[in-house]
């Protein structure tokens, strides 16, 4: 991670913008919720404060005006309308643009602010007002009962200079609040021998003419509250207003919200300074309970745990051969510990899928506006956890599936009413655990897939011939074929002919499966089944010749014995009759060019991938194994049949079969033979 403070701001802003967006979208649903209004306001306020602090003046200026307009909503003057939410979302995007690419966003901000002003009634937004310091909005809210003088004394945290705080700027912000007189407090400066030039020893006393500078001070010292000394008292009546402003950082936004409720509310508790500090410590303790760690370190940890699991498996194997009972008990103990460690480590990498789901609310909102369809978006199972990498890679496929549901699935309101459905369409996104897998489903209550059109299209594209007989379910799976698209016209959203096949590839790349069911008139459900993690799989260990191979257990459907006649029956046409359906099979001995005698009783492992099935003929099925997946090097990267390797309990290496690819190969030979016949 970089030490550039503006990076820190960008990161923080990204989270705040997320919070802002969620708040706005929630407001769209429940416009009366004042907590939501306050949450939006808090997010805006914090972006403004830190934006100004890190020198993003344009951001601060824009957000200030945004905030001023939104303040009318907060005060109940303007209602929350769908139009407001839409413009506010656009404004949120504009802020994002200002932060990340200020050149290209241009002056769209003025238009947005004008729109915003119209929406919040009457065009009172002071677009031209410059924001010198972050506090302006807060101070204008305070009452003006004549000039009062305040005495502010502060010492910065001793490490403030190391962290890049410039006291001159802070003083500038305070003196900009009103007529001020600044005095330096230098009595803490030690002798030269004891002095650490990086520490901050100086303090300042400022006599300020202001109504109530305390809220403004909160803004000025936003990032320094922990560990700094700050006092602020009214000069007229020093005893009564002995107010120590030592607000712990996390509590600050709440202060702003409180302010909204009662304009004259005190800034912070009036407890003695030492208890205040204890509070601050407690608060920072709570903040430290979650930790940002670079993802690579987690990968490294996972690697180490993988090695430990392998070493432990070897020990277990040795202990099983030994008669030493104490060795056995140590091996068992270690097995228990290492499996616990493995689970914990995998748990660290797990992220709730809700973080992904929330992104789609904005997508639905925009789609709803663009297509003029009224959509209800329901999510469930946000707490379901998946490996971090998995969640990142799922984002694109899910965007595609949701777009498809909205664009192709849901009918227009007229059509819906005509077929006796509510005008408002529903899209559901849900996640649920299913054993060692997670099932994610996207469901719409639209028209369902048009099998006739799919058939027509597939024939046009030469995917099937007119005399191919397919069930509806088989026809539905055709939309996953490369280059297939049924939208009558290409819209901006979908129907570019790329899509479902890419989605399917991505899901299978994650060792997942995609399944589609559709009922005419009722809607379509697309289900994704995904393993919880990418690093370790349950495998079935098989033997081919002298070599041992792992087959991902999630792909295995069943194991059967190969009838003695099947291999010799007819050359090239290898089918097994599995309960009435023909399943092609390939002999791994042939694929691998294995030498030596076949075992007398060959076994077939039926694996499936993307609706296809193929039998893999092996010499022996050894059993289940926990496989820590290791990537193959560039030297073996071009081998098609293996997705990786793993290390077995006895320390030898076993290759992991790429079942998706083997199924394709099996189906491929099937098709070729079909044509030849």
């Amino acid at each position: 991670m970089s030490n550039d403070p503006t990076d820190t701001f960008r990161q923080e802003a990204a989270e705040l913008l997320e919070q802002l967006e969620q708040g706005l979208l929630d407001l769209g649903q429940t416009p009366e919720d004042s907590d939501l209004v306050n949450s939006v306001f808090r997010a805006l306020h914090t972006i403004k404060g830190s934006g100004a602090m890190f020198g993003f003046t344009e951001v601060a200026e824009f957000v200030h005006n945004f905030e001023t307009a939104f303040d009318r909503v907060r005060k109940g003057v303007a209602p929350v309308s769908p139009a407001l939410v839409t413009i506010a979302l656009a404004a949120k995007d504009h802020i994002h643009g200002l932060i990340h690419d200020p050149v290209s966003v241009g002056d769209a901000g003025d238009t947005l602010l004008a729109d915003l002003a119209i929406v919040v009634d009457g065009g009172v937004v002071p677009v031209a007002e410059a924001v010198g310091e972050a506090a302006a909005a807060m101070t204008t809210a305070a009452s003006r009962d004549g000039v009062v003088r305040w005495r502010i004394r502060f010492f910065l945290p001793s490490d403030a200079l190391v962290h890049g705080t410039n006291p001159v700027l802070l003083l500038g912000e305070i003196t900009a609040l009103g007529k001020a007189e600044v005095t330096l407090i230098a009595d803490r400066v030690p002798t030269l021998e004891e002095m650490d030039p990086e520490r901050s020893y100086l303090g300042w006393q400022i006599d300020l003419e202001h109504d109530d500078p305390r809220p403004a001070l909160d803004d000025v010292f936003l990032f320094l509250m922990d560990g700094m000394e700050l006092s602020c008292e009214k000069l007229e009546d020093t005893r009564a207003a002995q107010t120590a402003v030592a607000v712990p950082l996390p509590a600050l936004p709440a202060t702003a919200a409180q302010e909204g409720a009662e304009a004259t509310a005190p800034v912070a508790g009036r407890a003695p300074a030492d208890t205040e500090r204890a509070d601050a410590k407690q608060a920072s303790g709570a903040a430290a309970s979650s930790l940002r760690v670079p993802a690579e370190r987690l990968d490294e940890l996972m690697d180490r745990v993988g090695e430990l699991v392998i070493a432990q498996a070897r020990l277990t194997q040795l202990a099983a051969l030994s008669a030493d009972s104490s060795l056995k008990s140590v091996a068992e103990e270690l097995e228990r510990l290492s499996s616990g460690l493995r689970d914990t480590t995998m748990g660290i990498r797990m992220v709730p899928i809700g973080s992904l789901f929330s992104r789609f609310r904005r997508l639905i909102h925009d789609l709803s506006n663009d297509l003029g369809k009224d959509i209800e978006f329901l999510t469930s199972g946000e707490e379901t956890e998946l490996d971090k990498t998995m969640i990142e890679r799922l984002a694109d496929p899910l965007v595609h599936l949701i777009r498809n549901s909205v664009d192709h699935g849901l009918e227009s309101a007229d059509k819906r009413l005509a077929s006796g459905k509510p005008a408002r369409g529903t899209v559901r996104l849900g996640a649920v655990y299913a054993g060692a897998e997670v099932t994610i489903s996207v469901t719409d209550d639209g028209a369902g897939l048009n099998t006739a059109r799919i058939r027509q299209k597939a024939e046009e594209n030469g995917l099937i011939t007119p005399d191919t007989r397919l069930t509806d379910s088989e026809l539905h799976q055709l939309i996953f074929a490369p280059g297939f698209s049924t939208a009558k016209e290409v819209t901006a959203l979908s129907g570019r002919g790329v899509g479902m096949d890419v989605v399917k590839k991505t899901i299978e790349g994650l060792r997942g499966k995609i399944h589609l069911t559709s009922t005419p008139g009722k809607g379509t459900t697309i289900t994704l089944r995904l393993p919880l993690t990418l690093a370790i799989i349950e495998g079935m260990l098989v033997r081919v010749g002298t070599g041992r191979y792992a087959i991902p257990l999630s792909a295995v459907e069943e194991c059967v014995e190969l009838p003695a006649t099947a291999l010799t029956a007819s050359r090239g046409r290898n089918f097994l009759d599995i309960r009435g359906s023909l399943v092609p099979f390939i002999s791994l001995r042939d694929v691998f060019g294995t030498s030596g005698e076949r075992d007398p009783f060959q076994k077939v492992v039926i694996v499936s991938s993307g609706g296809g099935r193929v039998g893999l003929v092996v010499d022996q099925i050894i059993g289940n194994t926990q496989a820590v997946i290791k990537q193959l090097s560039k030297l073996h990267a071009d081998l098609p049949n293996f997705s990786g390797a793993t290390i077995l309990g006895d320390g030898t290496v076993a290759l992991i079969l790429d079942t998706a690819r083997l199924v394709d190969a099996g189906q491929g030979t099937d098709l070729q033979q079909g044509k030849a016949a």
């Binding site: 060019g593 030297l635 073996h636 049949n641 290390i647």
Partner: protein
């Protein structure tokens, strides 16, 4: 080999030829371990081994230098080296019939590989040194790994034929 006057090298024997690898790239030397055969891979990198919990490809330089195959002997070792293959830092095991020692080879004693008159592809040889009256081949490991390894799978055998 840039500024120093000599190259610190690990010397080993393959068939009747002596080879020298820069000692810096050598991670460890192992006795023969169980090798997992990789079906359909090129004979140059036909196996995988477990090196301290890592899955490491095992390469046989005999194939790259067109030497005859021989059975493993008690002297056979695996030299684990680190090399870059197409921009990826990779740990590779190399089979050696016998490993001798780490020695210094004077830069002055290293000559460029002759363009003609060698039994091997000239671009696989970085230079030829001399020690105790013996010729020592200094192979161009990265090039060998990138080119000889590519002959696995569908790419076929045209790589060697085109030269």
């Amino acid at each position: 080999m840039s500024h120093a006057t000599h190259m610190r090298a690990l010397t080993l024997r393959l068939d009747d030829e002596y080879f020298a690898f820069e000692a810096e790239g050598v991670r460890e030397i192992l006795d023969l371990v169980p090798v997992t055969e990789v079906p359909n891979a090129s004979p140059f990198a036909a196996g995988l081994i477990n090196v301290r919990g890592r899955v490491v490809p095992l390469a046989d330089l005999r194939v790259a230098f067109g030497m005859r195959q021989a059975a493993h002997t008690p002297d056979t070792r695996i030299v684990v080296v680190e090399a870059e293959i197409e921009g990826e830092q990779t740990v590779v095991g190399l089979l050696a019939d016998k490993v001798y020692d780490v020695t210094d080879i004077e830069n002055a004693a290293i000559e460029d590989a002759p363009k003609v008159g060698m039994r091997w592809r000239a671009d696989y040889v970085r230079g030829i040194g001399k020690r105790n009256g013996q010729f020592i081949i200094i192979p161009h490991l990265q090039r060998i790994l990138e080119q000889a390894g590519r002959r696995s799978g569908s790419h076929g055998h045209n790589e060697g034929a085109s030269k």
